[in-house]
Symmetry: C2
Subunit: 346 residues, 2 copies
C-alpha cells in the first residue's frame, strides 16, 4: 500500500484517466483531493467517481486558481497533474483557448505548488502528440519535439515547465507522455478525444466504424489500468532517474487490426474511407512507443492486450450507458446489447 494515508492531489480528476487514477489511489488508502475545472467538453464526468462513494474531495476549480487554497497544497505528498484540454482538433479552431487551458493555467499551477509545497513529487500527463510526425519508430524520449497542432505546442510548453521546475529543484516533477489510452470512463461523447473513444462509442451503439486512409497506420493502444500503474510507480519512486517517459501499449496494431478486433468483440461494421482534409493536417501517420525507459526505471510493463482491454471497456460501458451516451443513443445500445452474446463484468 504505497499510498496509504498519503494526501494526493489529482488535477483533472473528473476526467477519464484522472478518475481511474483517483479510484485506484482510494483503494491504496490515499486521501485524494481532486482539482477539476469541469470545463465544458474536456471530459469531466462526476459519474466517473461513483465507486468512491464520496470518499474523494472534489474542488471544482481551475488549476490556475490553486493559489487560493495554499493550506491544501501545502499538505500534498504527491501531485498527479492531469488537467488539460486534449482535443487537437479544437485547438486548431481556437488556439488561444487551448493556450490558456494548457499553458497559462499550468504555469500558474506550478508556481503555486512551488511556493506552497516546494520539492513535491509531481507527475504530469503529457502526450506523444508533441513529437509530431515520427522520424523513427518506435519513438523514444529523445525524438525531436515538432508538434503539428496547437495542442501539441501548448502541451510541449507545459512539459517544459515541469522540466524547468525540476531542474531548479522547485518541484520533483516528471512527465509521462501518453499515447492512445482507452478504457472505462473514457469521454465517449466528447469530440476530439482520439479515435478510440469514437470507435468504442460506435461499437456500443452499432454505428459503422470508419477508418481513414488505408488502415495500415500503426497505433499502440494502452489500457487505462496500465497507464494508471505507471503514474502510481512514478509518484512513489524514491528517486526519479529521468524527467520524461514515453508510455505505450503492449503491441503496435494497424487501424485495420484494431477495427477487426472491435468488430469481433462487438459486432460493429468497419468501413475504409479517404482521409478528411481537416484531419489530414494534424495526422502523424504511424506511431508506436518505445517505453523502455519507463520499464527500466520502474519495472513497469503494459500487461493488457487490446482484446482484453476492449472486453473490459465494453463491459463497463454496457453497465453505465446513460452516464456516457446521449439519451437518444440508449435504446440502440440496449437493443444491440441484447443481441450480442458478450459477458458483462465489473
Amino acid at each position: 500500500m504505497r499510498y496509504r494515508d498519503k494526501h494526493v492531489i489529482v488535477t483533472g480528476g473528473l476526467g477519464f484517466i484522472g478518475s481511474n487514477l483517483s479510484l485506484r489511489l482510494v483503494e491504496e488508502g490515499a486521501r485524494v483531493t481532486i482539482f477539476d475545472s469541469a470545463v465544458q467538453g474536456c471530459g469531466a464526468n462526476r459519474h466517473n467517481l461513483a465507486p468512491a462513494g464520496g470518499r474523494i474531495n472534489v474542488l471544482v476549480r481551475d488549476i490556475g486558481q490553486a493559489e487560493e487554497v495554499p493550506a491544501l497544497l501545502a499538505t500534498a505528498n504527491v501531485i498527479f497533474n492531469l488537467a488539460g484540454e486534449i482535443s487537437h482538433v479544437r485547438s486548431m479552431k481556437d488556439p488561444v483557448r487551448d493556450m490558456k487551458l494548457n499553458t497559462v493555467a499550468q504555469l500558474n499551477f506550478l508556481e503555486a505548488c512551488a511556493r506552497n509545497v516546494a520539492g513535491v513529487r509531481m507527475v504530469h500527463a503529457g502526450t506523444r502528440q508533441i513529437y509530431g510526425v515520427p522520424r523513427y519508430l518506435p519513438m523514444d524520449e529523445l525524438h525531436p519535439v515538432e508538434p503539428v497542432d496547437f495542442n501539441g505546442i501548448h502541451k510541449a510548453a507545459a512539459d517544459s515547465y515541469h522540466a524547468l521546475f525540476a531542474r531548479s529543484g522547485a518541484l520533483d516533477a516528471c512527465v509521462i507522455r501518453l499515447s492512445n489510452v482507452y478504457g472505462p470512463r473514457m469521454a465517449l461523447n466528447v469530440t476530439g478525444q482520439g479515435f478510440l473513444g469514437n470507435f468504442i462509442r460506435k461499437a456500443l451503439v452499432g454505428d459503422t466504424i470508419e477508418i481513414f486512409g488505408d488502415g495500415t497506420q500503426l497505433r499502440d493502444p494502452v489500457f487505462v489500468d496500465d497507464a494508471v500503474e505507471a503514474f502510481l510507480a512514478a509518484g512513489c519512486a524514491p528517486k526519479l532517474e529521468h524527467r520524461v517517459f514515453n508510455l505505450g501499449g503492449p503491441a503496435a496494431l494497424s487501424l485495420s487490426e484494431i477495427g477487426s478486433i472491435m468488430a469481433s468483440e462487438s459486432g460493429v461494421k468497419v468501413e475504409h474511407k479517404p482521409f478528411p482534409s481537416d484531419l489530414k493536417t494534424i495526422d502523424i501517420g504511424s506511431y508506436h512507443t518505445n517505453s523502455s525507459r519507463l520499464m527500466g526505471d520502474f519495472g513497469w510493463a503494459p500487461t493488457t492486450t487490446f482484446r482484453q482491454g476492449l472486453k473490459k471497456t465494453l463491459g463497463y460501458f454496457r453497465l453505465h450507458l446513460p452516464n456516457y451516451l446521449e439519451s437518444r443513443d440508449w435504446p440502440r445500445a440496449q437493443e444491440l446489447l441484447a443481441s450480442v452474446p458478450v459477458a458483462i463484468s465489473e
Copy 2:
C-alpha cells in the same frame, strides 16, 4: 536589389537586430514598416534608426494588436518577425510576463497575418537557447529542444507556431535560430541581453570584464551584418527548403579568447570569477553552431571574424556613446577613447 519597392514589415524594428535589418532594407529600396511595442527594457532605441532619416514608418504597437491595422498587413510582401523579450534572467523572475510577450503576442500576430496576408513569407528570429544544454556540438537543427529557462520555453512555442502556420500553408514561415549576435546598435544598457553586450559596454567605459567559470566555454559570436544577410536571403528565397535554420558565427571561440581579443582591441582588463549561482541554473556550457543548412540552402556564410566585427562595433559605439550609455558613463568612455589609439569608423 532584391527588395526594391517591396513593402516589408519588421517587428521589433527598434531593437538591435531589427534596426540593422530595417536600415539594410531601406538601402535595398524597400518600403519598411516597423512594429515595435517599445516595451521598457526590451532594447528598443529610436536612435538606432537615425541613418534612415525618417524613411521608415514606425508603429509603436504591440504585435498582438496587429489586427487593428489590417490594410497595412494586407500589403506586406515580406514580414521579418523579430519582436520579443530575449532576457533569460528576467524570464526566470517573471515567467508570466515572458509568456505574454513571446507566446501570446506571437500567436495573435500570426493569426492576424494569416487572416490578412495569407501565405506571406515570414522570417522569425528564434534563439539557440531553446535547445538547452548541448547533447552534441556543433549543434544542428535536429537537436532536441530542451529549454533551461522560461524564455527558451516561450521562444520554442513561438517557433512551433511558425512551423504550424507554415505546415497548413497559412504563412510561408521559417525560423532562424540565432546565437550571440553582436554589433552596432546592441542594447548595451539593457540587462539580460547576453554576455557580449555586457562585455562591449565594459570595454567602452573601461570596466573590467568578468569571465565566469574557467573561460574554456565556447561561443560562436555572429556579427550583426552577417545575421542580417541571412534574414535577407531567407526573406526573398523563391522557395524555402526548410523551416528552421541555425545561425552561428565563423568560428568557435573560448570565452578567454573572446576576452583576449576584446582586451587587445580596447585595452579593457579581463578577470576570471566563479559562476554566480543564479546564472548557473540557466548556463548551458559550451555552444557552437552547425550552420550548414543555412549555407546550403541560401549560399550564406558568416564572413566577419570576431576581431573585425568587434572593431566595427566599438567604432560605432564610440561615435554614438550618448545614445547607448548612461550619462554617468559618458566621461569615462570619452576619456578612455582619447587614450586608446583606435581608428573610428562606421
